[in-house]
Amino acid sequence: MLTGRPVIDGLFTDGPEGPALLGSRCATCDELYFPQVIGCRNPDCAGTAIEPAPLPRTGVLFSYTWQGYQPPAPFKVENWNPYAIGMVDLGGLRILSRLDVPREVLSIGLPVSLAFDEMASGEDGGVHGYTFTAAEKV
């Protein structure tokens, strides 16, 4: 269970193996989407039923960058430092995420797993966001 507030309400859910990102699955063609959608965009699918779906919590790093400048608002973290952002393959779905991976460990093909971090502290538990870390500690 996560304490405090999510960086965006409704972005996370409690999956079978713990907190996960919340996406959608097309009940007809099984395509997985992130974030949540209200319709399936597969042109070969005429399905209309969409179900909430927790995303897989592990994946593989497809690419990454090290962002050297502080992003503008509304991004807000305490004690900002340059950090990594990457594309993570979760089976058929590729998503964008901050990465909590040391710069020298970053490499394409790195197995990674979902984690949550505190973007801002507070008496109410603070604000937590999502990130991916190296699946095996190095």
Binding site: D9, F34, V37, S63, T65, Y69
Partner: protein
């Protein structure tokens, strides 16, 4: 469908003009385009404007109406079109359709923009919820546009072995093209060492490998055969003109999305590839017929990747073409002889129209200082956020 001709091209200089209203930039560009073909507002049968989300348009995206209110109010139809950074191409295609259909004999397409400083940020009006890609992108991870391009560049290094030096050479080439172009904002040549010594914005991309933002405006006058005949050889035929959206399964992480659903066999940047393929089909020509390209070089990654994606080279082949000088002015396939976005800075909705103006100036032999010799067929390609692609082919 009737033939359509580009009769006039005009642009306000690119740069920072904090005291010039956006509508004044637009008026300048239109005035130059009308002068270019010896026409006046009295000849204009319609105006299509690219709508900006940053400012102007009376706050409602009504940029064409705003221009008429400040220029010439005589009842002609106005169309205001969205399409983010491809809006200029969509304005062009709309104006093209108005002339081709016979609705109008002479139509102006215009894009004008004054850009906020620094990183392009989240525009107002979005829904701040868990279903909004752009909100998650900014609030959840602070992913700037250069971060998206950098991840593509990193992946290219992995797939094709593109070196940091090769990326830097792409910057050197495009900046060198602008040295002789009086219209470019940045006209200083740079070296590989200078590029690699410039600040690392988003690894592996340095400051001199990404485009800045600029204020600017560009306009074209499109006309029917009747008007083209009166103008003679300076009129250029619009051989191909297409806009498109993306294909399902495109592997690209499109700005401002935070996901993609990659599928085998679907092209990367498919919205632009789809537009270019349709433009080719309409023109009835092949890749070998194209004498030069103006593409959206938001970063050096696009300079190398887009000629491949558009079918002018095999994947990974552009590195060698660059090294051989094939992509330079005087090479087999000059890319961005104007100096591109890297040398102008991006004035988002105006940019695609500036590309088309450049095609015209080159084909007429008026590209003083950066002329591609004997160019007869020229092609543009542009990408707009949200999966908007546009491509135009002009023929002498």
């Amino acid at each position: 469908m009737g033939s359509v001709y580009l009769l006039g091209a005009g642009a306000h200089p690119w740069g920072k003009f904090p005291t010039t209203p956006q509508v004044a930039l637009a008026r300048h560009a239109i005035s130059e385009a009308l002068d270019d073909c010896g026409r006046s507002w009295r000849d204009v049968g319609g105006v299509v404007a690219a709508s900006s989300r940053f400012e102007g348009g009376m706050g409602w995206g009504l940029h064409a109406n705003e221009i008429l209110h400040n220029t010439c109010e005589r009842g002609i139809p106005c169309v205001n079109v969205g399409g983010a950074c491809a809006a200029g191409a969509i304005a062009f295609a709309t104006a093209h359709a108005m002339v081709a259909s016979g609705q109008c004999d002479l139509v102006v397409a215009v894009g004008a923009e004054r850009m906020p400083k620094g990183f392009i940020t989240r525009p107002p009006g979005g829904v701040n919820d868990a279903g909004d890609h752009d909100f998650i992108r900014w609030k959840g991870m602070g992913a700037t546009n250069p971060a998206y391009w950098a991840m593509e560049a990193r992946r290219r290094q992995h797939d094709h072995g593109t070196s940091a030096e090769t990326f830097a050479k792409a910057s050197v080439m495009v900046h060198a093209n602008a040295v002789g172009n009086r219209r470019a904002r940045y006209r200083k040549a740079c070296t590989v060492d200078e590029v690699l010594a410039s600040p690392l914005v988003a690894d592996p991309l340095h400051l001199l490998e990404i485009c800045a933002v600029s204020d600017g405006a560009a306009a074209v006058v499109l006309g029917s055969e009747k008007f083209a005949r009166q103008q003679g050889a300076r009129a250029l035929r619009v051989a191909g003109c297409a806009t498109a959206t993306g294909s399902f399964g495109d592997p690209a992480m499109r700005i401002p999305m935070v996901s993609s659903n990659p599928r085998e066999g679907v092209s990367h940047t498919s919205e632009v590839v789809n537009a270019a393929n349709r433009a080719f089909e309409m023109a009835g020509i092949g890749h070998d017929d194209v004498d030069f390209l103006e593409i959206a070089d938001n970063s050096v990654w696009q300079v190398l990747a887009w000629p491949e994606l558009l079918g002018f080279a095999e994947p990974g082949e552009a590195d060698l073409m660059l090294e051989n000088g094939d992509l330079a002015i005087g090479g087999k396939l000059p890319v961005n002889p104007s100096g591109g976005f890297l040398s102008f800075g991006e004035a988002t909705t105006a940019q695609a129209l500036l590309q088309i103006c450049e095609l015209a100036w080159q084909l007429r032999g008026e590209a003083e200082g950066h002329q591609v010799s004997n160019a007869k067929v020229a092609m543009s390609a542009v990408l707009g956020l949200g999966a908007n692609g546009g491509s135009i082919i002009l023929q002498k």
